[in-house]
């Protein structure tokens, strides 16, 4: 049961959230992207051993879709680049 830091609600139990999977690169412009690149973007989600940036939806809370960095080896939520930039 992870303890997830919600920017609005503070640390909350994982059971209040739904995981949205790893954060992928920004959606490419389909008009400027080859079929191969588009397919890669679509199906190749990051799956590292170590820190991965993930989306979580605070479904039983404030409703925010937040991002965090979780170390897949330890479940530790670690510091990482913000997705705001």
């Amino acid at each position: 049961m992870l303890l997830i830091p919600c920017p609005f609600c503070g640390p909350r139990d994982e059971s209040e959230f739904i995981c949205g999977g790893p954060v992928r690169p920004p959606r490419p412009d389909p008009a400027q992207t080859s079929d191969a690149d588009w397919t890669d973007w679509l199906i190749q989600a990051p799956n590292p051993v170590g820190p991965v940036q993930e989306h979580w939806w605070h479904a039983r809370g404030c409703g925010v879709w937040l991002t965090l960095w979780r170390d897949t080896r330890s479940h530790e939520i670690v510091a990482g680049a913000s997705d705001d930039g």
């Binding site: 049961m1 303890l3 739904i18 949205g20 079929d35 679509l42 479904a59 879709w65 479940h75």
Partner: protein
């Protein structure tokens, strides 16, 4: 000593005798007994039969590590496979042994023993693999299973509590008490949880002094101080059995302080955790080491000191370490003859010798074999030169050393290291905020345990370690001995699963060299005791056989639960109707009162399936009646659970164009359109109608069961994909309840209800919306149709729906209005070829396959899923497309039945998605997904049923009624 009980001492109340029955015979014990101690005190030696060989088994330990003494509790609190050592004795308790028929002393199943050679490790895997385990499992379970499952649901009352603390201390032995005390004095919020009946841990099993007084006095003083501390929660009979991520711990309290409560599950989020879980003694593998009367030495001390039970006359102690010397001294002090202390070490430390001065000690000797079958009669002892001698005894107290209880630590993914001096695995590096203390950290001795607890407790509090009370203990020293080789007899490493040294060696010979594989192949450690007394012996045996150090062999993975947990204690209050509560619309009650058969409509909403006119009206007739009402008269159904969202903001139109495959921005106010939403991988997420309420406000509807997935998708797109856009999404499913009036007479009913807007087809056509009043109630009316008939979806505030509903039934009465359930809705939509995502969409279908190519707005620059659909279709290949099917011979087609070429037994070319009894055609009609189906209208295809029966069907357009849609536009 009087009989089998000591005259004084023990934590029992001799003034409170308790009567109980075991295998139908009556016995008496005392308050403070466990079932195991009471059985020992009554001279019951054989308590159970073993799992595989049906060997007689007795009590081996005094706690949660018990591998052998499994019983089945009877009566209202029936439960199977309980360890007699963990069942507190209560008045009237009734239990019976497992695996025994007709009794543990005379067991017909023991004939299996005669064929024991035929049941080596891996036997099940090798013998019963064809054609399938399921064929053999029932018979094997009957022959070799454990307790039978209770025949009634558990009667218990359970609750869950959540707690947050700075520090959770698991274990209230010397180290745990010390740590909790130091942290409590520092003002921390502490939860102290211990699985014992009372605090004290190993101190309750031994005769030790703290500050010159009996250790239990110190325990009592600490417990009293903790009880007075305002921020301390102290739980006994509370097992910390699960360690989840981020210091979230599962605790089950089996004797909570509330009358009537069976157990309480705690979920504790702790800033820091101290595992002061003590250590568990392990055995030594030698021939026939499972016979009743072979016990662990420390557990013998527990029975002497805690229960004042001493049913033995002559004991032999067998050890490879110092701790059993205290056990030998305690046995002698209790008046039991200690016939010999057999120590496998050539050199016995002087302080250990001094502890048993006057008792016969044989250094460098080993026990090779146990004599006696149902009851221990003696042991064979080998001297260093191999000469064997027999020593008579009725108790063999064994100590193979102590394993720090690292289970919780390891559940938290902390690493272990093997300590050669202690011959045990110790906590090494922590992953979570957790520290081990006391025996669990390798501090095997009272002074070290107290110091360790104080030090760790102070560290958590950010303070220097305080002074600790004075205590002394025999220092621990060990030279490991895992097994004693002997040509005859079985040497067990796991008594519960009947795993022997020979099984481990067989696994190695067959190539299972890894400890995890050995575990799975032999099942060692996979019983409900999780191998607490035997696992390290397995590792030691492996290490010895492979010429490696135990640290190189490593341990198997530790998983929750540490001790068995009742499902009820996990569920807590979430039982029965509270487990997954139903959602009810304002007219659910009306529907039930009307006699509806209630279904789940998705997302836990309860909606009527159909309304039998009389209790014995056949379902098919009720459904047909409701269908005819809608097709030829009028019906009404409760569409309230339909997912609804209001989308607003300056960028809402562009947002919807991005989400839907078709263009919604071109809609004029009060107009709507059917739409399809895809995910970016080109699969169908949901379908529904989208209405424009005004310039910047939209109403999006979706499937009942997809409400949350749709909400998640909308918010995900808004927040992560289009964060700069000014769009607001409000779920309004529960803000609008509705009565959907449908059928040729729907307009007449609306007119009778009274509306303050023009109802004519010209003024209020199909796919438009009006806001006004219906029957005097503020309403939002949508002309949408899921039945193919003229239809008005009258949305009102939920509090108004019961009143509206009554008026609809009244206004519709002259037209024979009927309430309509989801079964009739299903028939009507299949007749019309309307999609139901649960039926026609299977994760491969795209909009073109479903005949919805027209909603894929090609002119739109980009919408979710557009590119993926285009790429997939450009790849060519056969598509499975939606068609109508008309069974020849007018027989029903099972949903999901495969269509195969020519009806042959070959790979399918599609399947039936739905089949109903049409009221307009008075025959069976279906829908199917069929390879290249769009080009095959008019052909005959073949449904192949299980068993080979073939039903020819005519392929047709997926619309069986009113193909031009004149009725729904009327």
């Amino acid at each position: 000593m009087t009989g089998k009980r000591l005259a004084t001492g023990g934590r029992i109340d001799r003034n409170r005798p308790l009567r109980f029955t075991f295998d139908g015979r009556g016995y008496t014990g005392f308050a403070g007994d466990t079932l195991a101690s009471a059985l020992l005190a009554n001279g019951v030696r054989t308590v159970a039969r073993s799992f595989k060989y049906h060997r007689p088994r007795g009590v081996v330990t005094a706690g949660v590590e018990e591998p052998a003494a499994l019983v089945e509790l009877l009566g209202p609190d029936a439960s199977g496979n309980r360890q007699a050592t963990t069942v507190p004795l209560t008045e009237g308790l009734a239990a019976r042994s497992v695996n025994c028929w007709p009794s543990p002393r005379f067991d017909l199943g023991a004939v299996v023993q005669l064929a024991a050679r035929a049941i080596p490790a891996g036997f099940y895997y090798k013998t019963f693999k064809w054609p399938g385990w399921a064929l053999y499992a029932p018979a094997i379970r009957r022959a070799a299973g454990l307790a039978s499952a209770p025949d009634h649901p558990p009667q218990g009352v359970y609750e869950t509590r959540h707690a947050h603390c700075d520090l959770l201390v698991a274990g209230a032995g010397p180290a745990g008490l010390m740590a909790a005390l130091v942290a409590a004095r520092a003002g921390l919020r502490v939860v102290l949880a211990d699985e014992g009946v009372e605090a004290g841990g190993a101190l309750l099993s031994r005769d030790l002094l703290i500050d010159g007084a009996p250790a239990r006095d110190w325990v009592a003083a600490v417990v009293a101080e903790l009880a007075a501390a305002p921020l301390v929660t102290h739980l006994q009979q509370a097992s910390v059995w699960g360690y989840r991520e981020h210091n979230y711990l599962m605790v089950t309290e089996t004797a909570p302080d509330r009358p009537g409560l069976t157990a309480r599950g705690w979920r504790v989020r702790a800033g820091h955790v101290i595992t002061a879980t003590g250590a568990l003694e392990r055995g030594i593998a030698f021939a026939e080491n499972d016979r009743p009367g072979v016990m662990l030495a420390g557990s013998v001390q527990t029975y002497l000191h805690r229960n004042a039970v001493a049913p033995w006359r002559r004991a032999v102690v067998f050890t490879n370490n110092n701790s059993a010397y205290a056990a030998a001294a305690d046995l002698a002090a209790a008046g039991i003859v200690v016939a010999a202390i057999i120590d496998s070490r050539d050199q016995v430390p002087e302080d250990a010798r001094a502890r048993v001065a006057g008792l016969p000690l044989r250094a460098g000797h080993v026990v090779t074999r146990v004599l006696g079958r149902a009851g221990l009669r003696g042991v064979c002892v080998a001297s260093p030169d191999g000469a064997e001698a027999r020593i008579d005894c009725d108790l063999l107290a064994v100590s193979g050393g102590w394993n720090p209880s690292v289970h919780l630590w390891s559940q938290a993914r902390g690493t272990l290291r093997y300590d050669a001096d202690l011959a045990a695995f110790l906590p090494d590096r922590a992953v979570e905020n957790v520290t081990a203390a006391g025996a669990a950290a390798g501090a095997l001795g009272l002074p070290d345990a107290l110091a360790s607890g104080a030090e760790v407790g102070a560290r958590v509090a950010g303070l220097p370690a305080p002074a600790v009370p004075q205590a002394s203990d025999l220092p621990y020293a060990i030279t490991p001995l895992w097994q004693v080789a002997h040509p005859r007899g079985k040497a067990f490493v796991d008594l519960q699963n009947d795993v022997t040294v020979a099984d481990v060696e067989l696994a190695l010979r067959e190539g299972y060299a890894d400890v995890e594989l050995v575990k799975r192949y032999t099942t060692a450690g996979m019983g409900l005791d999780q191998g607490k007394t035997g696992n390290v012996t397995v590792i030691g045996t492996l290490a010895q056989a492979q010429g490696r150090a135990p640290g190189e062999v490593g341990t198997t993975t530790f998983r929750a639960p540490w001790t068995p947990v009742a499902f009820g204690a996990i569920a807590g209050q979430r039982d029965g109707p509270l487990a997954l509560p139903w959602r009810e619309t304002p007219v659910t009650r009306w529907n039930i009162d009307r006699g509806a058969m209630m279904y789940e409509a998705g997302a836990r909403w309860r909606r009527p399936g159909y309304f039998p006119a009389t209790p014995d009206e056949p379902m098919a007739e009720a459904i047909a009646r409701e269908c005819r009402a809608v097709r030829f008269g009028v019906g009404v159904y409760d569409g309230s659970p339909l997912a609804k969202f209001e989308i607003k903001g300056p960028d809402a139109a562009a947002f919807l164009d991005h989400l839907y495959t078709n263009r919604m921005s071109s809609l004029k106010p009060r107009r709507g359109r059917y739409g399809l939403m895809l995910t970016d991988d080109g699969l169908i997420l949901d379908d529904g109608v989208c209405f424009r309420l005004d310039a910047a406000r939209w109403l999006v509807s979706g499937s009942t069961g997809h409400a949350e997935a749709l909400h998640r998708h909308l918010e995900y797109q808004r927040q992560t994909s289009r964060p700069g856009w000014r769009v607001f999404i409000t779920p309004v499913t529960e803000q609008w309840a509705n009565a959907t009036i449908c059928g040729p007479q729907a307009r007449a009913v609306m007119q009778a209800l009274g509306c303050d807007f023009d109802l004519s087809a010209q003024a209020f056509p199909f796919m438009q919306l009006r806001e006004g009043h219906v029957a005097g109630l503020p309403a939002r009316v949508l002309r949408v149709s899921f039945t193919g008939e003229l239809s008005y979806e009258v949305n009102v505030a939920p509090r108004h729906l019961p009143a509206l509903w009554q008026q609809v039934m009244g206004a519709g009465a002259p037209h024979g209005i009927l309430p309509v359930g989801s079964e009739a809705n299903h028939v009507l939509r299949v007749e019309k070829g309307f999609l139901s995502l649960a039926h026609e969409v299977d994760g491969t279908a795209d909009p073109h396959d479903l005949g919805l190519g027209w909603v894929m707005a090609q002119a739109k620059p980009d919408h979710l899923g557009q590119r993926a659909v285009a790429i997939r279709r450009a790849g060519g290949g056969v598509r499975r497309e939606l068609v109508g099917v008309i069974p020849e011979g007018d027989t029903p087609l099972p949903e999901g039945a495969p269509l195969t070429p020519g009806g042959q037994r070959v790979a399918s070319e599609g399947f039936i998605t739905a089949c109903v009894r049409s009221v307009v055609q008075d025959r069976w009609l279906g829908l199917a997904l069929l390879d290249n189906g769009h080009a095959r209208h008019g052909e005959t295809a073949h449904v192949r049923l299980q068993g080979g029966q073939v039903i020819p069907v005519r392929v047709a357009a997926p619309i069986h009624y009113d193909p031009e849609g004149e009725r729904l536009r009327s």
